[in-house]
Structures are given as structure tokens and as C-alpha cells.
Symmetry: C2
Subunit: 144 residues, 2 copies
């Protein structure tokens, strides 16, 4: 009504794109509130909720984890044990990913350094990709 924020403003304020906000509503992360003219309307709390979501996404939490984190935030008198568990799991994952990417980095550096800048026949890049035995990167789990 009088002090509702339109989706565009919320989008700017929370730095979450408009279609993404609509998507979040669709999957139930955001409560649907409309004006008489059928426009989505938000309050400052929604801006904060969206910021929370964006930040969590940036930190690599998936939607299900965020759903749990949001439900925890909505019930502040509960134990934070679950939030702690989620963060810890994420930390383990991140550590593993860093280790994997570091090995990958070494592999790519070896490829690039080994490249004789000649023809494909003698190119380390192609050769290492073709023959796994020549690869030093063995924890092939994350990469992407």
C-alpha cells in the first residue's frame, strides 16, 4: 500500500535480479504480497531477507541449505546448532575444493609451461589430456 517497496527498488537494494526475486517467490523462499493492481510489494524485511539469500548463495550454500538457514533465522530462540552444522559442512567442502583446485592449478601450469609452442604433435596440453598416466592431478572430484 503506502509504504510497500516495488520489485525494481528491492532488486536494486538487495542486488538480486528481478526474475530471480520472482523465482525465489515461486520456490517459496519469499512470501507473496501484492498490491490491488497485482504488483509485488515488499518491506525492508524482504530486502534483508533477499540480502541474506544473496549472501548465502555467494558463499556457496544451495537453496535447501538457505531454506534451513532462513527457518532458523525466523526462529531466533532455537539452538543455532543446525546453522553451525551447515556452515561446518560447507567449510569442509570448501577446503576440499581448494585442495582440488590447487592440484588442478599445478597441472595446468605444468601443461602451459610444457607447451613448446610448436605443433600439436608435441604439445603437452593435448598429451596430458590424452594420457591420464601423465597427469599429476588425481583427486578428480570437484574441478568445475
Amino acid at each position: 500500500m503506502h509504504h510497500g517497496i516495488a520489485i525494481g527498488k528491492v532488486s536494486d537494494a538487495a542486488r538480486v535480479k528481478i526474475p530471480t526475486i520472482r523465482y525465489y517467490e515461486q520456490i517459496g523462499l519469499l512470501a507473496p504480497n501484492r498490491t490491488e493492481g497485482n504488483r509485488r510489494t515488499y518491506g525492508q524485511d524482504d530486502v534483508e531477507r533477499l540480502t541474506f539469500i544473496r549472501h548465502s548463495r555467494e558463499l556457496g550454500f544451495n537453496i535447501d541449505e538457505i531454506r534451513t538457514l532462513l527457518s532458523l533465522q525466523d526462529a531466533p530462540h532455537q539452538s543455532c546448532h543446525e546453522a553451525d552444522t551447515i556452515a561446518k559442512a560447507r567449510l569442509v567442502e570448501v577446503k576440499r575444493k581448494i585442495a582440488s583446485l590447487t592440484a588442478l592449478k599445478a597441472e595446468l601450469e605444468r601443461m602451459v609451461e610444457g607447451c613448446s609452442h610448436g605443433r600439436v604433435e608435441t604439445c603437452q596440453v593435448i598429451e596430458i589430456l590424452a594420457d591420464h598416466g601423465k597427469c599429476v592431478f588425481h583427486d578428480h572430484t570437484v574441478a568445475a
Copy 2:
């Protein structure tokens, strides 16, 4: 015919799942060869090609990059300049990702350490997620 390898064997040999092999054929990474009974049939070269693809995917190259790398491998007298460029671009990306994940790791560690194991009200995990200002992780680009 007599020395063709069936998809299941190729799948085991190259450690690429059967539906994935069919998918690769569909998108043109693999030539389609069939027996009279309409079964896909492969040779040792296909096992090597699939291993190349798997390895490249594990190293984080996307399908388009792999397409280029494969076309280079198929023409070994060409210059390997392009392969070098692709690997270098990937290296830059990986370095950026490591930097980002390292910052993220610090952030998660701060969260977990700061958690008083009490109630959500006072939980650092939730608080840091809610208030971006309290976050030390600012290169929010990769994360996942």
C-alpha cells in the same frame, strides 16, 4: 562387428557413464557407429577419446573447449597455439577461483569459530549472513 567394443565395456574402460556416452554422441563429440542389430560399437580409439573428454571435464574445461581441443588432437600438424590459449584461460580462471574460495574459507572459519553454540539470536553464522557489512569476504564472484 568382430572387434567392436560394446557401450558397457567402453563405459567401464573410459569410466564414463553409458547415458553420458550417448549424450556425447548426440552433441557430436563422438561418431555414431552401429552394429547390424542397432547397437553402438566402439574401438580402442573411442575409449581414448572418451578418456580425453572425461579428463578434460575433470580439469574443468567445458564442452565447447573440449570440442576445440579434440579438433586440435585430430589435426596434429597444426599449431598448438589454440590449445595453449585455452589452457591458459582455464589457469587464470582456476587461480581466481582459488583466491575466492580462500577468502570464503576464512569467512566460514570466522563464522564457525564465532558461533557460541547457544541460541540463534547470538549466532555469528546467521548474523554474518544477514549483515553483509560484517563479512570479510568481498570478492563474491565464484564460490560455488
